[in-house]
């Protein structure tokens, strides 16, 4: 019986249990629902849960455990000669046995017997059936494969029987429990609570897992390159060509990348914050509802544009435009038509990333500003303040903690942005302060280091994890600081 059929059967049993539980509770109620502690639906669900949940859990555990057991028992009957070679060879043999086992099922009895007495070649026979073998195949594999197949079949039957039995037993046990005063409702709610907890812990555990894997890979990197060299090095030169040859391992200085990241994020925020904030104030305080209801979604559309599209925009429009206009300006002033802004530069990336961030700033700030109680607005207007005075002196101070939080959130987005920077700022890791020259960021270098065909053992690729964890710490720090600011001001303002 296949797993999906088995699952279907369990669900079917669950269904039947549900109605059985309902019917039994109704029968016990004697036609008066208020006799029951819980509504019939709860009794039904209770029985269904008992039928489905234990069976499903056992099924899941079985599906994980059984193949392991079958593998190890198959491994045990492989010939001495194979077993003594250990590790990889055994696994290879086991893999072959499994493909032979798959192939054996397709053979007729005649073909099988000719294989067993050695008159037919294993590899070619199976190839004719569409099963490709990696090696020539040896006679012991046929016995091992037959053992494997036999165990698989027994396993299937055993699993189906046990799981179905558990489902039926669970349902029966639960049905016996049903009584008028039985608290089915509380039981069902406890199961629901449990599933909520499981769901939230999955999210948290995944995060922990990601961080842990990054940490362990970064740890491997730091055994090859000293942390001091990484965190305080001022030269980024990973020497891809030298990868794997040992000795010359390149220089992995974080500082130029970090400087580029922060510089570009700073320029982006310089563009996005005033524009976004002003837009938010206009939307929240001055715009008529009709204008607001059209303009705000339009502004938010900007947030939905994939960042790679902004990258194109930077590459083909903004970058060349800045380059040409700088050449013209230079020509007008000095007579020398030499551009002083490179097509790929910090400003290009900063401006385009700034445009990308405007809707974040404005949308978040707008929500925060409109949340300022109307009473405060009325109070200020009632004292004869103009709208602008009200905004400056009452609304913005009241909304400040939220706005600061929004800005820090935006900043951590700017720090983590990749696609725009790849296309707009270039990949040259340099340390300089001229905003018209190219620079690069941590994220770009992560992409760079991982898109090659190097194995994950050289510092050239492992450095990506060290960079990743650094970036993670930076954005985590920003977010924690945002929370801290918000808390601090909230104490003062509420």
């Amino acid at each position: 019986m296949s797993t999906s059929l088995l699952l279907l059967l369990i669900v079917l049993i669950g269904f039947i249990s549900y109605f059985a539980g309902r019917a039994r509770s109704l029968a016990q109620a004697n036609g008066k629902l208020s006799n029951l502690h819980s509504l019939p639906g709860y009794h039904g669900s209770y029985v269904a849960i008992w039928a489905i949940l234990p069976a499903a859990l056992v099924l899941g555990a079985w599906l994980v455990a059984a193949p392991m057991y079958i593998d190890s028992s198959t491994r045990a009957i492989l010939p001495e000669t194979v077993q003594t070679q250990g590790g990889a060879t055994v696994e290879l043999a086991l893999g072959q046995v499994k493909s032979v086992a798959g192939g054996l099922k397709r053979l007729t009895a005649e073909e099988l017997s000719s294989l067993e007495n050695g008159s037919a070649n294993l590899r070619s026979t199976l190839a004719a059936k569409g099963v490709a073998l990696a090696g020539e195949g040896e006679p012991y594999m046929i016995t091992a494969a037959q053992h494997f197949n036999a165990m698989s079949v027994t396993n299937r039957w055993l699993m189906s029987a046990v799981v179905l039995l558990i489902a039926i037993a669970g349902g029966a046990y639960a049905i016996r429990n049903i009584a008028t005063r039985f608290r089915a409702r509380n039981q069902v709610e406890r199961v629901i609570l449990g599933s909520l907890i499981v769901a939230s812990s999955i999210a948290i555990l995944t995060t922990v897992g990601i961080v842990a894997s990054m940490l362990s890979e970064a740890g491997r990197f730091f055994t090859m390159v000293s942390p001091f060299e990484f965190f305080f090095g001022t030269v980024w030169d990973p020497r891809f060509s030298a990868a794997g040859s040992g000795g010359a391992s390149g220089q992995f200085g974080l500082i130029p990348l970090l400087a580029g990241t922060l510089y570009i994020a700073f320029v982006a925020m310089l563009f996005a914050v005033p524009i976004g904030l002003f837009a938010a104030i206009y939307m929240a305080e001055y715009a008529s509802p009709r204008l607001r209801s059209t303009a705000k979604p339009l502004l938010e559309v900007l947030a939905g544009i994939p960042t790679i599209v902004y990258g194109f925009f930077a590459l083909v429009t903004v970058g060349p435009f800045l380059r040409d206009i700088s050449a013209q300006l230079n020509g007008l002033v000095t007579g020398n038509y030499q551009n002083f802004i490179q097509a790929q530069s910090v400003v290009t990336a900063g401006i385009v990333m700034g445009i990308m961030l405007i809707p974040f700033v404005s949308s978040l700030s707008d929500d925060i500003i409109t949340q300022v109680p109307r009473a405060l607005r009325d109070g200020s207007l009632g004292l004869g303040a103009t709208r602008s005075e009200t905004v400056k002196k009452v609304i913005l101070p009241a909304a400040l903690p939220g706005i600061v939080g929004a800005l820090l959130l935006t900043a951590s987005r700017a720090v983590g942005e990749t696609m725009i920077v790849v296309l707009a700022a270039g990949v040259a890791a340099r340390m300089q302060i001229d905003p018209f020259e190219p620079m690069t960021t941590v994220t770009v270098k992560i992409v760079n280091q991982l898109t090659g065909d190097l194995e994950f053992t050289s510092p050239q690729t492992l450095v990506a994890f060290a960079l990743g964890i650094t970036l993670f710490v930076i954005t985590l720090g920003l977010n924690i600081y945002a929370l801290y600011i918000v808390r601090k001001y909230r104490e003062q303002y509420e």
Binding site: A375, D378, G379, L381, G382, L383, G384, A385, E389
Partner: protein, 271 residues
């Protein structure tokens, strides 16, 4: 203060009520929210240095009328006011009138205490600051102190003027809002159910304060409490379904009203 003499003064004032000049005159005032008409040709005059109470069941238009007096209805979308309202002969809906100046002359205290998220000092200094009523620090200190004193709050907060106004109790917050309104030296103060969010003790303090403020200001108060109207006001106006039912001396309103509806409302037959 001698209670007898206070009562005597009040009686004298009440008897002269019909000779007190009008501070604000409302003529045929109608208010529309979009297509819905909320006030129907209300003719109501507000006498100088008098507490005028506006009473009536919920939704009767009393708050709407109050908000027309300093054009707070301007901040509501789709709200339209017709008719004429004057403040000392100036038509307040005249386009030549600056609404900001009008609101400095006609201050407002709201239903829920709404101190700004600033210090007590800055709350009171807010109005004087935006209207340029004071210049030096000493001027501001004085304005803040006298306003808080007028609001009967100074002694309670004088040691913590620079702590946030939001940290005060509800009653103190409402008196802070009154001090804030007083600091601008308005001629009229509008109060929209100023005690509805306060406990009885805080309410008593605010009522006492309203009583004292009458010497310097003209006060219009919207209230749901009959007792409060009787306690604090000299004139009472009764609204019903957007119409002004009756306006009269408070004593007469509560003892011998002209209109049956007023009688019923005061007796608690509807509302």
């Amino acid at each position: 203060m001698n209670i007898m003499s206070e009562a005597a003064v009040e009686k004298a004032l009440d008897q002269k009520m019909n000779t007190v000049p009008y501070k604000m005159i409302g003529k045929d005032v109608s208010v529309y929210y979009g297509d819905k008409r909320a006030l129907f040709d209300v003719n109501l005059n507000i006498r100088e240095n008098t507490v005028t109470a506006l009473i009536g069941p919920s939704g009767c238009g009393k708050s709407t009328f109050l908000r027309t007096l300093n054009r707070m209805n301007d901040t509501i979308e789709n709200c339209r006011v017709t008719g004429k309202i004057t403040l000392d002969e100036d038509d307040i809906y005249d386009p030549a009138i600056d609404v900001v100046e009008l609101r400095a002359r006609v201050g407002m205290v709201f239903q829920k205490p709404n101190p700004f998220p600033k210090s007590i000092y800055d709350n009171v200094a807010y109005g004087p600051r935006i209207h340029g009523l004071a210049r030096t620090k000493a001027d501001f200190d004085e304005v803040v102190e006298t306003s808080l004193q007028k609001a009967g709050l100074f002694n309670e907060v004088k040691d913590r003027l620079h702590e946030p106004g939001t940290g005060l109790s509800g009653g103190q917050q409402q008196r802070l809002c009154i001090a804030r309104a007083v600091a601008v030296s308005p001629e009229v103060i509008l109060m929209d159910e100023p005690c509805s969010a306060l406990d009885p003790i805080a309410t008593a303090k605010v009522e006492e304060l309203i009583h004292e403020l009458r010497t310097n200001f003209t006060i219009v108060i919207v209230t749901h409490s009959m007792q409060q109207a009787a306690r604090v006001s000299q004139r009472t106006a009764m609204f019903h379904l957007g119409n002004l039912v009756e306006e009269n001396d408070t004593d007469k309103m509560f003892t011998n009203p002209d209109d049956q509806r007023t009688q019923d409302y005061i007796m608690g037959r509807f509302g």
